[in-house]
């Protein structure tokens, strides 16, 4: 059920429009905000691989995002590990963490899965708090520079933005490939009817675990981009509100559409940023929560999902 990807002409148009917006983004908004948007976009794509294509709602994805961010910044700032190695280790951390968490969490489904991922994410959150010597506790870890990649300094915000965009595009492309592969088809079958998938002889748990690890790893990649882009990582990165945020972004954009979550992240981040400059101040959640509640009540397919859903009136919940 992934026809709504490139399958329709509309899908291609949406993808092209998004790409154009993404290319022009640093001209439209403040470049570092643009970096945030793209990093969150990739995070949401990674999350959507799990929710949209596998049917698993993780409420603890911040643990990969924030965790990998911590590992990267700590290695660079405290252990003087070279930049590329630190990034690789950070992503490896997210992958291993996803493997462990996934192995525990896939034992249950639905709401239990959500709660278990949430609780495990809290576990990491508390460790991040307690190990203040490494994580700086509530003060976070700051980087004095973004370092270099292949000999190119990443200090320039615009240059860094396009590097981030390239990584995010690659990540999204990978997700597209996964989703459209036979493996993705099995995931879809599992989402639609798990019993039938089992009956067909698929080792459902193994597929779920692989999807979980891929999603967690990619979320880790996004988290590293965010942390390096902002030159800091802190507790809010591993907080459950961040997990909630990526859920909101994905659903707002449209789950199961790959590009929807990117649009969702863009809308969410920019709206949040600009609303915070109005009289509402730090109570942006009134606005964001209302939009999300309306989204859950009225257009569950999300913005991009609604745009794509012309003829194919799927009875998807």
């Amino acid at each position: 059920m992934t026809a709504a990807l490139f399958g329709t002409r509309r899908g291609a148009i949406v993808a092209a429009v998004l790409l154009l917006i993404a290319l022009a983004l640093p001209k439209l908004v403040y470049p570092v905000l643009a970096i945030d948007i793209i990093a969150y976009g990739l995070f949401a794509v990674a999350f959507d691989l799990l929710l949209g294509f596998t049917g698993l709602l993780s409420f603890g994805h911040a643990m990969f995002w924030g965790g990998a961010g911590y590992v990267a910044t700590i290695l660079i700032a405290k252990a003087n590990v070279p930049f590329p190695l630190a990034v690789i280790l950070a992503i490896a951390y997210a992958a291993v963490l996803a493997l462990i968490v996934g192995a525990i969490a896939i034992r249950r489904q639905g709401i239990y899965f959500a709660m278990i991922t949430l609780a495990l994410a809290q576990l990491q959150y508390f460790f991040a708090y307690q190990l203040g010597g490494w994580t700086g506790g509530e003060n976070g870890v700051q980087l004095s520079s973004r370092g270099t990649l292949f000999g190119i300094a990443l200090e320039n915000d615009i240059a860094f933005y396009y590097a981030v965009l390239a990584v995010a595009a690659l990540g999204t492309y990978l997700v597209v490939r996964v989703v459209r592969s036979p493996f993705g088809a099995v995931l879809g079958a599992m989402r639609e009817n798990e019993q039938r998938a089992i009956a067909l002889g698929f080792r459902v748990d193994r597929y779920k675990l692989i999807a979980f690890v891929m999603s967690g790893t990619l979320a880790g990649v996004a988290g590293v981009l965010f942390a390096v882009g902002n030159r800091l990582s802190g507790l809010d990165g591993v907080d459950w509100h961040t997990s909630g945020k990526v859920v909101m972004m994905s659903i707002l954009g449209g789950i199961g559409t790959v590009f929807g979550p990117i649009a969702g992240a863009g809308i969410f981040e920019s709206l949040d940023f600009f609303v915070s400059k109005t009289a509402i101040g730090d109570k942006t959640n009134i606005v964001m929560g209302t939009i999300f509640a309306l989204c859950v009540l009225l257009f569950r397919r999300g913005i991009i999902g609604e745009l794509l859903a012309d003829r194919t009136k799927r009875a998807k919940t």
Partner: protein
Amino acid sequence: MALGLSVIFGMLRIVNFAHGAMFMLGAFVAYYGFQLVHMPFYAAIIVAPLIVAAFGLAIEVLFLRRLYRLDPLYGLLFTFALVLIIEDSMRLVAGSVGSPYETPAGLDFAVNIGFALFPAYRLFAIGFAMVVCLVVWLILERTPLGARIRAATEAPVLVRALGIDTQLLVSLTFAAGVALAALGGVLAAPIQNVEPTMGDKIIINTFAIVVIGGLGSIGGSVITGFALGLLQTLGAVIFPAFNDTLIFMLMIIVLLIRPSGLFGAPASAK
């Protein structure tokens, strides 16, 4: 102690992020009740849950009802949105810092319980919470109404076929759950500061209790809740640094050994 209260929330079968927010609203109703009309604590303990329950009922009827036929995850997501809206709205109304709520008259003394002085109010709150737990458990397990509620949440179609208005039952159950959360908030108000994020701190622990205790057994939830409360109190003394993580560690262990939770008998066993 805080866990003793949170047990109450875990009992109802509705997974509701907003329970923490309802807990907070209960405390705020008590606070504003006192500020505006000098409503005494003993009145607040009844009035505040009713007011918040009415609010919860409105949300159930207006919004949540539309989501029942969908994946329950949408209900979870909607209540998450509610938390964000309610919390930030309260921050807008009441400020972020919070306000004190006086210890109720008649309970503002300390009792000598052998080895130390203990504030009378705390004893009252613990006792009151236990009584409420017991009453709710009795209603659910031992009365025809309780039987219907359990049936309606487990097999709504079947129950409807028997001519029982499940919609009404579900709404009432939801309202009762909200009222219990609000009651917890009122009981906590004199101990803590009344502030908009006070619900956040308990909701995740509540989730863990539900997972550990398993659903289907209210008694299991209560026992788990109290056992964990005890464990955390002891843990605070033995290794305080990792006290917070204890509950989650336990949850992982339980899940590995008994995926359905300690007291969560397989669906058919009851």
